[in-house]
Symmetry: D2
Amino acid sequence: MTTPLNIGMIGYGFMGRAHTNGYKRVGDFFPELERRPVLKAACARNKENIQAFADQWGYESIETDWKALVARDDIDAVDICVPNNLHKEIALACAEAGKMILCEKPIAMNTAEGEEMCQAVEKAGVVNTVWYNYRRVPAVTLAKQIIDSGKLGRIFHYRANFLQDWTIADDLPQGGEALWRLDVDAAGSGVTGDLLAHCIDTAIWLNGSVTDVSAMTETFIKERVHQETGQKQKVGIDDACAFLCHFENGSLGLFESTRYARGHKALYTLEINGENASLRWDLHDLHRLEMFDHADEGLTRGWKSIHVTDGDHPYMDKWWVPGLQIGYEHSFVHHVADFLKSLETGEPCHPTFRDALETQKVCDAVLSSAAERKWETVV
Amino acid sequence: MTTPLNIGMIGYGFMGRAHTNGYKRVGDFFPELERRPVLKAACARNKENIQAFADQWGYESIETDWKALVARDDIDAVDICVPNNLHKEIALACAEAGKMILCEKPIAMNTAEGEEMCQAVEKAGVVNTVWYNYRRVPAVTLAKQIIDSGKLGRIFHYRANFLQDWTIADDLPQGGEALWRLDVDAAGSGVTGDLLAHCIDTAIWLNGSVTDVSAMTETFIKERVHQETGQKQKVGIDDACAFLCHFENGSLGLFESTRYARGHKALYTLEINGENASLRWDLHDLHRLEMFDHADEGLTRGWKSIHVTDGDHPYMDKWWVPGLQIGYEHSFVHHVADFLKSLETGEPCHPTFRDALETQKVCDAVLSSAAERKWETVV
Amino acid sequence: MTTPLNIGMIGYGFMGRAHTNGYKRVGDFFPELERRPVLKAACARNKENIQAFADQWGYESIETDWKALVARDDIDAVDICVPNNLHKEIALACAEAGKMILCEKPIAMNTAEGEEMCQAVEKAGVVNTVWYNYRRVPAVTLAKQIIDSGKLGRIFHYRANFLQDWTIADDLPQGGEALWRLDVDAAGSGVTGDLLAHCIDTAIWLNGSVTDVSAMTETFIKERVHQETGQKQKVGIDDACAFLCHFENGSLGLFESTRYARGHKALYTLEINGENASLRWDLHDLHRLEMFDHADEGLTRGWKSIHVTDGDHPYMDKWWVPGLQIGYEHSFVHHVADFLKSLETGEPCHPTFRDALETQKVCDAVLSSAAERKWETVV
Amino acid sequence: MTTPLNIGMIGYGFMGRAHTNGYKRVGDFFPELERRPVLKAACARNKENIQAFADQWGYESIETDWKALVARDDIDAVDICVPNNLHKEIALACAEAGKMILCEKPIAMNTAEGEEMCQAVEKAGVVNTVWYNYRRVPAVTLAKQIIDSGKLGRIFHYRANFLQDWTIADDLPQGGEALWRLDVDAAGSGVTGDLLAHCIDTAIWLNGSVTDVSAMTETFIKERVHQETGQKQKVGIDDACAFLCHFENGSLGLFESTRYARGHKALYTLEINGENASLRWDLHDLHRLEMFDHADEGLTRGWKSIHVTDGDHPYMDKWWVPGLQIGYEHSFVHHVADFLKSLETGEPCHPTFRDALETQKVCDAVLSSAAERKWETVV
């Protein structure tokens, strides 16, 4: 016998689809779970659009005012899938209403907002998690297991980047529903919050805290037509951002993100170098993990390409047979599964708001460092 | 308004899961379709098992006798997902009952059975298709588009192999529910019907008919315990099979399959060399297609690795955004989508039984050639 | 103190350059060798051309009649670097004259010629070797070491191909100095003797004898202008050749070669699958060897890419530092070094004429099998 | 008729061998050159060692005092192949003596020394070049040609790293002949001058001047036994260095180097992203260049792997045939060839001392930025 978990989804964009798919598929592949998501309500201001979304995905009802959704008794958990500038207000209301919260990343526009949100959910005691989904790509989870086993020894280096090329055209507008990520008022920042935040979350998870940063940002296209005003307006986001940092464990970090790297669609790569072994991964072949193990016999040592599709690989016993890869969307199914499991065990489902706040602090330090052209301590 | 298509599933193994997942997801990602699969009934002899399967996946009812399932009025389409030795009898019954048929590959134990099945469905006029799913991996579909555009020019070579390593241990038994593929009475053949059939289906689709073959097969482990008898019994299947062939278009073919290639989990690779361009693909990175285009400027000519995740790539407008890969299971979703579309248009959903029979003929010629140690004409 | 080894080179084509480079460099990198090649004389019918070659490379003298070269007292070793149809006659004369012989591969036009050559050198007791240079690419030599260590266990499969694309244009002529490889009278065969012979030599070295073969050949362009007659003439060579075979150790072999595989310049690849481990290599990245070792820990098992540039890799202590690759030409330097070492030890320098004859026998069986469309035993 | 160029080599380490090999081979492969290097004299303090080196490589004579070498009338050109702390004094003496100079990189211990050296050679009017050899790896030279053609459009990003792992063991000593690169007194810096200098030279060549930098350095192992004193001494070099920068053309740069990246032997990688196309290259597969060209047809766009071995690729008409790779050492042969050509044309052989000084300035700014933890302008 399973128990329903009634989901209220706010938003219906790319992430709204990805999360919804996670809710719908989790029961088929994780049948042992006691609770099962039920698509109770979807919410957005545009009634026609949200109705179409609800119809396509099977939400039982719609709302056009998120406050109405949060107020509903039949909603257990709210999924905040709207632009960053709306996260805080909704999250505070959810906490107030005692709803569980699954919030899209980054947690907020900045650390101050994030801190307020953390305090609200902690005070209210509501279950909370943030959708840094890459932790649950099996190859990345495997990396975590290997690192936690101590196999790598002392860590010297961590590097990550997230390279895209979709905003190179200067006639691409900013703002509006599809392009709010280019509008600083909605997004808070550019690639830093959108892409580097992913890299930072994984980095902290795998390699511990970041202590200080030196960053640079750039906005290559200075003005773009805003879709809401129809006017050319200054572009306020960072098109590219790179930073140096130190980790608390003494290792050095190097991060970069851009939407101007021609040829890269969504190339998130990471590499960690330890005394005894190294690992690397990239999102364009997300089903593989590469490992170099110095303990291997000398003559035949080399980088191993692990095809992470075996039954003993993280999450992979749930899917197909060895050799048959899963894809991007599965990371969300895994997140939902882990969230549901956390409801059974009472353990937090990481990253929690508090975990995500640590990433936000690094993002803020990065942006401030770039603005001030100086090293910033992460506080 | 959509119309239901009531599915009766016979079988609940690996393929049963894969097909069912296809039925359940198609509506979310292909909302324009008029007909929607409904999981009406699942059938297997073992009541407990089929009930568990039905519960997990959401089938409305179960049957323990496939004849009962086929006889039900509320079933529109039957999915034949059982060992090969049962395909024919069920298919004939379905045709007789006027049910649509989605049959797992290979179509049958041999050409004679396949021919009987073709005649039955054609006579009955029932819609039919065979689950050669790799045609609908977007990168393979893209290969088909490129070839059909004439870009490659005259074709000289086609080569494919399907390499696995899961049966190397000599204490692996044969037969029974999980290992019927190792039992010649259930499977008809070993890698030829299981793996090479996939390679041949794609090859015929991409490069036309095969005219003659010279093959060799091998059974490396001669005896294995049979799970049903508990006795060591002769292994009747081919553990490995390779063949040379000619295509009707004058090109040369080279095919190989084995379950004894240490290090390869499910490495289906194909390559086609034309006068002007070449293509290659492999299942371990199924989201990529490689292309060499001699028309490219000479100094910078090279093999291109196409990350088949853009909106204009086959099927990819239905999924996520560029750079984010899908996986193995999506090929079945696409097959279901195309099947449903075919119901709207009245066009056949390829490969039909008749198409699959052509593959069966090549398989038979291959096995006969290996047995006789001589070239065989494909008739 | 070193002792000179006076070299007489017959021929000045691509291989003449490669061998000469081997002779000139060996002393710099293998200073421990007692004997050092001295470029005593170069020989070819065209006086102007051979003089230019001698000038460029530093040969002390020239000859225009190979018989004169063989007759010279100041020549210790003769390098036979001419088209295949001349190998036998020159080799017999060298044996008669008591000269050491370094003969370009394949050993001869056919097995009968090769047998005659073997008997001549064995009777005369002259040192002999055949330039199957790929054995001495460090990654291939490393493969041999690993296989000889028993690491792979029982062998199931061996496959190799050699794919090129340089003869696709139908206005390419045949014959003459540059294109004698396309003229059956000079070359004896097409890709079989030119390319497959390499694959077969390595295969026998790594995996033992071939017992029987089933082959197919094709000549895609049926007529080409012959450079010596200026006339369109029938093309007598095989443009492509593929074959199945069995090895004496019970493993299955699959070989293919062509000059019509668009996109491949000189892609010689090989792979061997054993019970416990597999290896693969390709000439386009000749400094790497890939290995899959089933003994590796399960969770992190994968194909390793070994960058064969460490000091403990075969031959690599002679060159640079780890990470810095060497290239194609070094295989010839290594062959010369091993040849010189063999003079010190009195051991044969493999492959000898007798070793190369085994490859020739397989080639002959392949061509005969293709002509007769039936399995041929290698005798 | 060729004219000799008498070389005086100071030093006999790894670079001494690489340069000498360049001098010895250039005539064989670039026969059109009018001047030919003659190995006139080799010089080092240790008589036994330098005699052995001279014997191995064929230097006609030896010196044990570099001043004596520089004073010899029969020396045309001096190759400075000694630790960095000796470059300046020798170079000044060479200039004074009117000798051509081929100086190992980095040009000097710091910008001040380098400036003095530039002024000396310019005042004396002696031909000079610095051995930044990677410019003459054919794939890198091809990158330069493509960039100069304007194909990339506006440049947004440049990134490079040079990763090694050979100093991870903490019992590795510093100093002495083999390990002077770990001794700050001999080397001036660690990875910055040894490895990043290469990255910077190529970057400036491909992408223009660097204007400002923000760097961090780290010394992971704080003390190592010094081979000359036998005592544990503070390690003065940087084990790792990373920096952010801006280029004059408005693009962003990211550079990193370390000797603590487990699994990387000598992995120099570079990537440049332009509006219309991107290029990347790495030293572990130095015969390949990767290119993404947005002008390619959309459906089949992807990263191309160019196997830089064709006759129309830079320098490659001198070597073998398409598909057959050359290696690391060939970059030095090419440098010698270009140097000899420059003597014919009277054009400088880049990078000259003046060019190399620009790299030195960036290195100095990097080290200063790291020390001061602030952005530094490159002056």
